[in-house]
Amino acid sequence: MEIMDFIISKYNYWMYIIIMMIGFYAMIAKTNLAKKVVGMNIFQTAIILFFISTASKKGATIPIIQHGHGEAADIIHAAQYMNPLPHVLMLTAIVVMVSTFGVAIALLIMIYRKYNTLEEDEILEILKIENGR
């Protein structure tokens, strides 16, 4: 029961680990270059998920403060709002992720134009023939 408790209470970490490992596996083990890129995407998404999951709190609401009139008297309880910092960090990280994805796809296009295939082993074959020439 302790173990079940351990797993369930930290489910966000388990999720991110599983997703990250799926992505990592795709990046390393798959031979199709496009699948590698997708794996990379999944990998990065998992990390973003992890960060965001650390920002949430029980019963918290989105971190936007409603201003009324004379709000100086309102005291803000941090526990009522989700932590905005990881969200902000992850906005940056998502931008980075998208840019990397863009660069990777551009490279895939260049590679496809050159070798007419996106399979790593076929490309290596072509390179071997080129080397031998």
Partner: protein, 498 residues
Amino acid sequence: MIQHAPVLIIIIPLLAALMNLIVGLWRKRLCYLFTVAALGTCVFLSVAILDIVAGHGTITYKLGGWPPPWGIAYVIDHLNAFMLVIVSFISLVVAVYSKVSIEKELPEKIIQFYTLFLLLVTGLLGILATGDVFNLFVFLEIASLAGYALIAVGDDRAPLASFNYVIMGTIGACFYLLGVGYLYIATGSLNMADLSQLLPELYDSRVVLGAFAFLMVGVAIKMAFFPLHKWLPDAYTHAPSAVSAFIASTMTKVGAYVMIRIMFTVFKPYFSIEVIPVTAILGWLAVAAMLYGCIRAIAQTDVKRMLSYIIIAEVGYIVMGVSVGNRMGFTGAILHILNDAFMMACLFLAAGAIEYKTGTRNVHNFSNLYKKMPVTTAAFTVGGLSIVGIPPTCGFFSKWYLVLGAIDSQQWVFAGTLLFSSLLMAVIFFKVLVNIYFGSQPVSGAHSIGGNGAVVMDEAPLSMLFPICIMAVGILSLGFFSGKIISSVIQFTVPGSF
């Protein structure tokens, strides 16, 4: 104005990169001058920063006036200031060099090249200047992405090489991000100085240990530290020559800088040496890196590939210097960052000039090259002698400190490996240099053979030759100033407990 220098040094190349697009669309030829002007300003600013830091100690610049740890702070101490100067100077020199080589290699992409180049410089300078771990990640990615793109426009194999770099580099950056995340959830802070205060109580927490592990692995990938070096030879060989020269001399060194920051600023030195004996592991991996790099380099026929494997060995030197954990070794490592930047820049620039003029990178085709390109081959020789470590070139002096550092900690294997790798480097360069000076066949590229069949001198153009000569002269003269550099800058970078 000068008090904003830490942020200006980032903003100027960033804005220049964006404006470069506009300038280029207006007049393509202006891109080069605009880039050189922007980088020249960066050099000036970095020297000013070094001057201030040498006089007054560490500068802290709060971005937007927000106090840390809520705001992002740029903290410049002796180590960063020193490296800012190195990176900006080399970027300027390579930018001057790139005019002719880029016109030949990428004639229709000049604007985009300079834009990306400026972005790459922004990223690297940002990594060096910042005092916030997440900010470092952002700049790391800026630099890496610009790097991926720049490498990909090289020769035939470049897209594939860059793709491998993308995959591995992203893993590295993501590990780094994970490490930052773990640190954040453990301490709630992203500021380096703040973290160094908050972390000591948590040194036995698994989260923090996990963070350290992720950070180190991520940085090791970026630094091409054995055994995570696989991406480097392909990427550097197939990139355009200006790009190779710049990235080879700076990217791995900046990676080493990040490692030093993590090990000694964010985490206190005793953590890296005693709590987890990372330094021992790093030391032995460094030995493997030195041997692997040298041995692989011997077998290469492509000169850029040979130099890329030598970089792996050089990174090994720097990490070894850090790992012995004493004053001498650390001094040697930092001095070696400076020396290696110059040596690699000189060698890659010379190799690029040779490729530009003769169209070949195969060392077997370099026979009698000294007749055709005396100055370039002389610079290549100086670079080679410096890598072997022959005085009075600068390479000798950093090896001096590194070996003494190893001996001071009784690490005889490290010291022996360093000397043995010098021998291997001598073998590597001897082969190439003898062919250049005493080769038996005439140099290929027959168009420069004069009327009577003798080889006519046909040097690289001046805008390429001038940077090469500056680097070579730098290698020769920096050696003599080693003592001065150490006493005025480097000795303050050594962690206090050493």
